[in-house]
Symmetry: C2
DNA sequence: CGCCTAATTGAATTCCCTCAAGATTCGTGG
DNA sequence: CCACGAATCTTGAGGGAATTCAATTAGGCG
């Protein structure tokens, strides 16, 4: 992980800026204001929790580098992953809105996170209403991803389901500025997201490799033929688009 | 449907007031202000769409009586229901936030809806920040329901799954002021929510009847033993709670 | 070089689906 | 008030997709 040493370096906040821009925050003044509030930054190692479900919290957590996942441990010991988070995404806006216990977020690979105090956030939203709007938009986009997960679980066969998840992650990786065709998830992560057994995920991955969608090189999920993957998934990524951001 | 004739009668807005209160809007002035903005009200018959996914919209739709569902038609002809809506719930806040095509909402039973113009809404949120906060809280609560649906689809067997959905609806029915132990959904509705075939839903319902959770009386889903149903579902309804509403 | 995690393979089983037909209830109009 | 049609619900049988259990192989890191 290069560049994680210097907190608030230009390369680190770049993802956040790009995310805010895509959500319709264009004013340099507003952008600068948000960045200035980004306080204590820290590294979270793969596997560790970035935010824990505890009740009291005084600041919003923002992912600046890496990949994280919002998940829940079921009482049968299984883990359900709801969504992945990429640089620029907030990890716990829900808890900010509804001061209450919420699901934990864990680092899927080594992560770098920043923090914005609730007080600062309130003040900036008051001063620049556009900022609050941007967070609301991000929340709607997240909700849409949840809906996609519902559809996935309900009526798509395993191959399409896995392919869909991979398509989404590929797109979001790219948009967050993490170029590359390797999706940094384990088959266990995928199984916990798709609600399938690891065994079946493995077989499905092999099918996708046979179809030429994924690289045959084992021990990593590498997209070989992006178009093929989208086709197998019957993927329509419009739910990830912000569209015309005029007002709200 | 009694009382649907007189628009904005006290009994009709009662559900909305109770919902707003539960979300932390206590000031009489704010409450009154919201109610005053409730404009054209209308009846939507069972089966008809309350909001269509079209792009342009100038007002927020609020359900005042009845039960509705947010759904999507899949290209294989199947319908996926994401969530049900009860009196006091807004139908299309997502579209207000992110000016973009969104999923339709249909009346599950005869409904009565009201409308608040976007302009009015903006003004009132500016004047009373607490009002905007309340809508954000409602959105977080809705997102939690989506997550519950993801979990349902992923790793719960049919009986638990159906029972869970029924528990949620029972609780929300009660909280919206619609007393009674009959859940006004067809088995088709349930199948479209749970992502199961109608046939299997039917068999599962019969299991729940055998277990004493549901009334044996056919052609309606009537809760016979609430405790038993919760037990079978292993239902934990805390995701529907607002909790301490102090700030946000 | 060895340990630990992740990936892979096989076999038996279970849950749920599809297809197909029949029964019940309800609304509607004669 | 009854008859009819349309939903909705119910029941049976056979098949397929994904699960569980169990064991093996491969890579990455110290």
């Amino acid at each position: 992980m290069v560049g994680l040493r210097e907190p608030l370096g230009a390369d680190v906040v770049k993802s956040l800026v790009s995310k805010l821009r895509s959500l319709g925050l264009h004013g340099k003044e507003e952008l600068q204001a948000v960045l200035c509030l980004l306080k204590t930054t820290r590294v979270v190692n793969r596997g560790a929790d970035i935010v824990r479900p505890g009740d009291r919290q005084k600041s919003l957590t923002v992912l600046l580098a890496g990949v994280a996942c919002r998940y829940r441990m079921m009482d049968n010991g299984r883990r359900q992953i709801f969504t992945f988070e990429y640089p620029g995404d907030t990890c716990d806006y829900h808890r900010y809105v509804l001061q209450q216990r919420d699901d934990p977020v864990a680092a899927v690979i080594d992560c770098f996170v920043g923090v914005i105090g609730y007080g600062d956030l309130e003040r900036i939203c008051e001063q620049y209403p556009q900022v609050g709007l941007v967070f609301r938009r991000a929340m709607v986009l997240e909700a849409r991803i949840f809906l996609e997960r519902v559809i996935n679980g309900a009526h798509r066969p395993a191959r399409e389901r896995i392919a869909n998840i991979l398509c989404e992650q590929l797109l979001r990786l790219e948009r967050s500025g993490m170029a590359g065709d390797v999706i940094p998830l384990t088959q266990v992560d995928l199984a916990d997201t798709a609600g399938l057994s690891v065994v079946h995920v493995n077989r499905t991955i092999q099918e996708l490799r046979e179809l030429g969608a994924l690289s045959k090189r084992s021990h990593s999920i590498k997209v070989e033929n992006r178009h093929k993957l989208i086709q197998v998934a019957r993927f329509d990524g419009t739910y990830l688009d912000v569209g015309q951001v005029a007002r709200g």
